[in-house]
Amino acid sequence: MRIGTLKESYVADAALFDSVTQKRMLAAGAALLVLFPFIANDYWLYLACLVAINIVSATGLNILTGYTGLVSLGQAAFMGLGAYTVAILETRLGTHFLINLWAGGAVAMLGGIIVGIPSLRVKGLYLAITTIAASFIAHFLFANFEFTGRTGGLSLPPARTFGIFLDTSFRLYWMIVPITVLMVIGAANLFRTRIGRAFIAIRDRDISAEVLGIPLLRYKLLSFAVSSFYAGVAGGLWAYFFRVVTPESFPLVMSIFFLAAIIVGGMGTILGGILGAIFMTMVPELLKLIFDILPGGREMTVFLSPVRTVVFGLLIVGFLVFEPLGLAEVWRRIRRFFHLWPFRN
């Protein structure tokens, strides 16, 4: 517990942001988000958009795995569902991107519910592997149906609003980042409600939760639904961002990437999903920078990609062994340290 934050009501206790400092920092963060596109070059804007998409998906997985305790390796497949839905609607009907994204989320949600149905009978790690099965089945469907363009996939025109084509990273930024912010705030608020608390109760001990009057099947399915809705929207954004959707766009490795992101970031905290997605997306770039600085860099670049793979694995293992609460905990520790600084040492 921190000191110096006196709460006088439940409302204050449940508030998302409880101190003035926090609100100020948030305002600064928002200002930075608005200013960023005007100072960054195309490459950094590209990365920012990618990070934002990954944050949406990681937050979704965090709801399922971090908050409800159901491990899923199917996040990429749900993203695929969303991406294909968006691609099909955009090319066939040409509806507005907001409608398409909603539809993408909804279709992914449906997929999530179907995959979630076994979750009452099949538990724990068995469930994780059923989600792998689901993602292979999804891949099969994408690769063999005519209207998903078979192995060649689908290309789609850029999103359009008020007659403006969102075709550069700069323009896409204004579509992706606000949606990401909304989705994250939505997730944070979810855990101030009965539903969110029910998820946490299921994670901590599902049978006890049922005894407490939480219908397991309904809430597990709900968790799957919400989580895959997030994945679907992320997939839709992904489709608008890359403008090509193929069955190979959403491999199992991608699901593992999101799992890694929430492990590294910190499971069961909203901040964890955000930090994890940022960190895991930036690590390859960071490694590239390090390799550029290293002496004999030219010959060393041969090792860049395998080193990336090793570092990816080491991060997962390292955080699980040494820092199971993830970056969010590191952040909290830093914050606590500076909370009364410089009056404490």
Partner: protein, 293 residues
């Protein structure tokens, strides 16, 4: 109209290649039985075994009879290392943590293999006999037949070991009740180590055979996915289950691949998995755990 001779020939080959699934499944079950860790990196451990063999046999040009034991020992050492550095610290953590550690482990092993041996596809030296095996008119590729033979012998050996050897009994005791095993003076952490070492060694043998059949590359860990399906269908903690499900999945893959097309292979196995799990959530032969509050 079904061509029975054709079906027989395909089935035979399918079952024979299922032997390899059974062997790799055994490596998996061993670890799960003893430590309750779902090892997602099983395919990558196979890969390391195959690459070690490649190094000894092709690069150092050692004779085959020396290269195989060296590769198996090397892989066993790796198993010990993994257990000591990654699994032991998680003792008492929820099983999901250990599961995700093995996800990370898979990535680490792939990266290391690519650093040392590069990502190029390679061929292992030929060491299995090359005269085809004929059963009636049905043909089985020699490597597949020999691989199945080795798998069966090894599985039988492990079963005997489980039954009569002291360490095997300790392992079974730990599997059925960890607390009681501790109380009876069994050194449980040592059992953990032994299980990982034995599992890694079996994986190495499986990897060498798989590599001899299909060549080796840093993506051969995909084999582990089919193995995962096998042990899920058989039941995570059942050796018999791994054996039966291994042969069965081998057969399903062969038949689906031949009569429906290559794209249906994985689909068929995963459908089998989903169906089995819906009917029997703990696999065909797995122990059904009772929930207590």
């Amino acid at each position: 109209m079904i061509d029975w001779a054709y079906l027989f020939e395909v089935s035979l080959t399918g079952i024979a290649s299922g032997g390899l699934y059974a062997l790799a499944g055994l490596a998996f079950v061993l670890v799960y039985k003893a430590t309750r860790v779902v090892n997602l990196a099983i395919g990558e451990m196979l890969m390391v075994g195959a690459y070690l063999f490649f190094t000894f046999a092709a690069l150092f040009a050692l004779p085959i009879w020396l290269a195989i034991p060296l590769a198996v020992l090397g892989c066993g050492l790796l198993g010990a290392l993994i257990e000591r550095t990654m699994i032991r610290p998680l003792l008492g953590e929820p099983p999901i943590s250990a599961f995700m550690v093995t996800v990370g482990l898979a990535s680490i092993l792939v990266g290391i293999v690519e650093i040392i041996w590069s990502a190029d596809q390679r061929r292992l030296p030929e060491f299995l006999p090359s005269t085809p095996v004929m059963i009636g008119d049905a043909f089985i590729a020699p490597k597949v037949a020999w691989g199945a033979g080795v798998a069966v012998v090894l599985i039988g050996f492990v079963l005997v070991l489980f039954r009569y050897w002291r360490g095997g009994v300790a392992l079974r005791a730990t599997a059925s009740d960890q607390g009681a095993a501790y109380a009876m003076g069994i050194n449980v952490p040592r059992v953990f180590s032994i299980a990982w070492v034995a599992s890694a060694m079996i994986a190495a043998v499986a990897g060498i055979i798989v590599g001899a059949i299909g060549g080796i590359s840093s993506s051969m860990g995909v084999f582990g996915l089919s193995v995962l399906v096998v042990v899920m269908v058989g039941g995570l903690d059942s050796v018999l289950g791994a054996l039966v499900a291994g042969l069965f999945i081998g057969w399903v893959e062969a038949v689906a691949g031949t009569f429906l097309g290559g794209e249906y292979k994985l689909l068929a196995t995963f459908l089998v998995l989903v169906v089995v799990l819906m009917i029997r959530p703990y696999g065909l032969f797995g122990t059904h755990e009772i929930e207590r509050l």
